[in-house]
Structure formats: structure tokens, C-alpha cells
Symmetry: C2
Subunit: 220 residues, 2 copies
């Protein structure tokens, strides 16, 4: 089994964190062919995205699908709650992350430069972002993690994306409130940052993402 | 357990088809409060979308999450392949449907009227659609279903969305090729249409979607 990708991506960090809470050692490798758009890589994942997992010679794309495969095959320690409704809620937090929260990152990222900023697009993204984090809060249980007292898939999805959103909001100075200031997400954020497995991956992801942001800023 | 939604939605049809291949009787109900935006409904699903499942007094949104819950709790007959990599590929086809295929429906739907058509937007959607169905083909096995000789989650996701795309392409006369004309998807489409469970849900979905399209056309 080989995992391809860079830890600057919150989707890669998701899989790394999920492997970590399951107790699996899953180091990151460079993309075959040197790029995620190389013919070798596209054979494994036609979408040309990271993370991609190679298992038994076959390729699997999409972080949630990879986590599902790890859960099915690496059964020593589960990365999902036992109760079916709780499992579904953990999955649902991951899906809200992908469908509703991550969708707003693009408009913000494209408007980092205050001099060339589309204020209406930023305002709209801020409103949708608040709504989306609200969805997550409603679906999450009393916690402190997304579902219960230990991290599961939902935390591994929401945490790196939230970390990225916080960094983008701070760097862009958009005047959009930090989503982890609300009472439920404040408790949650403290729990994931304080957890040995989640916290260590968050720290490495933050370092890689900061380096990526510096590169981007140098290009502008 | 109560499933809320209208069969005109391909996401609702997905859950109904998945229940059917698992041998579960899961009738559709009207949304509590009379609408998917009612306070009663939003308590069950903050996203205000259908389908929504009510189970043990809790609400679950997102068709794939609902199918996962059904798979976890209704264990008589599985709706997923046994082999972990095959399971992952079935899930991946569902995800390609949601992330890459369904994304192109909006631009086409907004440009149904030839007199007010944004030709560039239609052309771009056609290109992305061809790419997205290509992703699905690469991920699918030799078949005839998405993975193997019986329908699984991937088929339940891809089939109603493909049916909707075909209807929109035919009605709009965009000059975009029917995605089920390629060799792999032609074989697949024949298999799902010819399967008793999938075919019957596809027929009911088509009827409901046609009625919805007539309503929309009357508004223009």
C-alpha cells in the first residue's frame, strides 16, 4: 500500500490523520511520474488529484474513499463510531466538509489580494461558510469530538480543512469571523488540537500549508 | 425509519434503488412541515435537501450517507461488493457521480432555452461531462454493472443521474453526445435498465422527472 500526496493538502492530511488514529503507519510518497498529471499517475487516478492510494496494483482516488478502504482492511482499531447512527453522523460531517465548507475556499483564495478583491464574492463566501459550519455543528453530537469522546473520520475531515480556512481568513483579513469561535466548535477545536494523533498531523499540515502559502504570495 | 423526498430527484431515486437491491421496503413520505425548508424538516436535516431519512428520531441527510446507514443496519442482503477494493470502487463511482457529473447539470439546466443560451457555458459543461463519464468508465470494472455482475451502490448513484443527464441533453438539443453511447457505458446502461430492481426504479424516476420538466417548461 502506497499513499501519494503532499501534506499541504487538507485532503492528504485527512487520510494521514485517519491512518494515525487507526494506528497505521502510512508514509507519504511522491507521485509516480513526478506529477499528479503524469500518465503513470492518471492510470491510478483519472481525476489527477491527491491523495491517491495504490493497493494491490490498483489506484484509489478521493480521500473519503481511501479512508473507507483503510477502515475495511485495517481492522485493528476502528476510525468510526460503533453505533450505526453515530457512524453515519461522522460520515456526514466529512461530507459537509467536502460539499459545503470546502466549496467556499476557492472564492476566498482567489481574492487574497485586497487591491484586486471582489468584495461581493468574499461576502457571499463568508455567509455560506458560516452556514456550512452551522450545518456541521448541528450534525455533531455533544462531543467534545464530532461524535463522542474520541476522534473519528468526521474529525479527520473537518480538522485540516478548518485549519486551512482559519489560515486563509487570517491571511486575507476578510473580516469574516473565525468559525472555531462559536461555543461548539471552540470545544471541538481544542479537543482535536489537544489530541496526540490529530494534533501532531495538524501541526505538520500547518507547516506544509504555510510553506505553500508563502510560495503563492511570492507569485502575486 | 421514514424516507422523505420526491422520486423526481435522482438522489432520492438513488436511495430507493439501493433499498430495492437490498430487498428493503422503504416507501417515500412527504416532508414534515410540508416542505424541505420547514423548521420541522430543517431540524432533521439542516441542509434542507432531500432525501432525508428519519431513524430513531434522528435525521440524516445526503443520499450516500443514508445508503451507508442502510448498509450498516439492514444486513440481510448487501448493496456493496464483498472485496474491499471492489467496495471502494463502487463507492468511488458514486462519488464521481456527485462531484464531477452532477456538477455539470446546473449549467445545462440553466441554458435549456436556445434563445437565451450561453453557448460557451454549454460547451464547457459538455467537455467536463465527457471527462467525468470517462472517469467513471476508468474506475468501473469489466462489468456489466459498475463492479461485477450485480448492481451495487455505484450503479444506484450513477444510473438515475445518467438518466437525468440523458433527458436534459435530449430536451435541450445541445449537440452533446449521449454519454451512454460509449462501449463501456452502453453495456452498463443496458444492464441497469434490464435489471428488475434498477429498471423499475429508473422507470418511476423517469416518469416523475418528466412531470417536473413539464412544469419547468411551462414556467419559461
Amino acid at each position: 500500500m502506497k499513499l501519494y500526496g503532499s501534506l499541504a493538502s487538507p485532503y492528504v492530511a485527512r487520510v494521514v490523520m485517519f491512518a494515525k488514529i487507526k494506528g497505521i503507519d502510512l508514509p507519504l510518497h511522491e507521485a509516480p511520474g513526478g506529477s499528479i498529471k503524469s500518465p503513470e499517475f492518471l492510470k491510478l487516478n483519472p481525476m489527477g488529484k491527491m491523495p491517491t492510494l495504490e493497493a494491490n496494483g490498483q489506484g484509489l482516488g478521493e480521500s473519503t474513499i481511501i479512508c473507507g478502504y483503510l477502515e475495511d482492511t485495517q481492522t485493528a482499531k476502528s476510525g468510526l463510531p460503533k453505533d450505526p447512527l453515530d457512524r453515519a453522523r461522522s460520515h456526514l460531517v466529512a461530507r459537509i466538509t467536502d460539499l459545503y465548507i470546502a466549496q467556499q475556499v476557492g472564492p476566498l483564495f482567489r481574492n487574497m489580494n485586497p487591491a484586486k478583491r471582489d468584495a461581493a464574492a468574499v461576502e457571499a463566501a463568508g455567509k455560506e461558510l458560516a452556514k456550512a459550519f452551522g450545518y456541521a455543528e448541528q450534525v455533531m453530537g455533544p462531543g467534545p469530538f464530532c461524535v463522542g469522546s474520541a476522534p473519528t473520520l468526521g474529525d479527520c475531515a473537518l480538522a485540516p480543512t478548518t485549519a486551512m480556512v482559519r489560515k486563509i481568513l487570517a491571511a486575507g483579513q476578510f473580516g469574516i469571523a473565525d468559525p472555531t469561535q462559536g461555543p461548539r466548535l471552540k470545544t471541538w477545536w481544542k479537543a482535536v488540537e489537544g489530541n496526540a494523533d490529530c494534533g501532531s498531523v495538524l501541526a505538520s499540515h500547518a507547516e506544509a500549508f504555510d510553506a505553500f502559502m508563502k510560495q503563492m504570495a511570492a507569485r502575486r
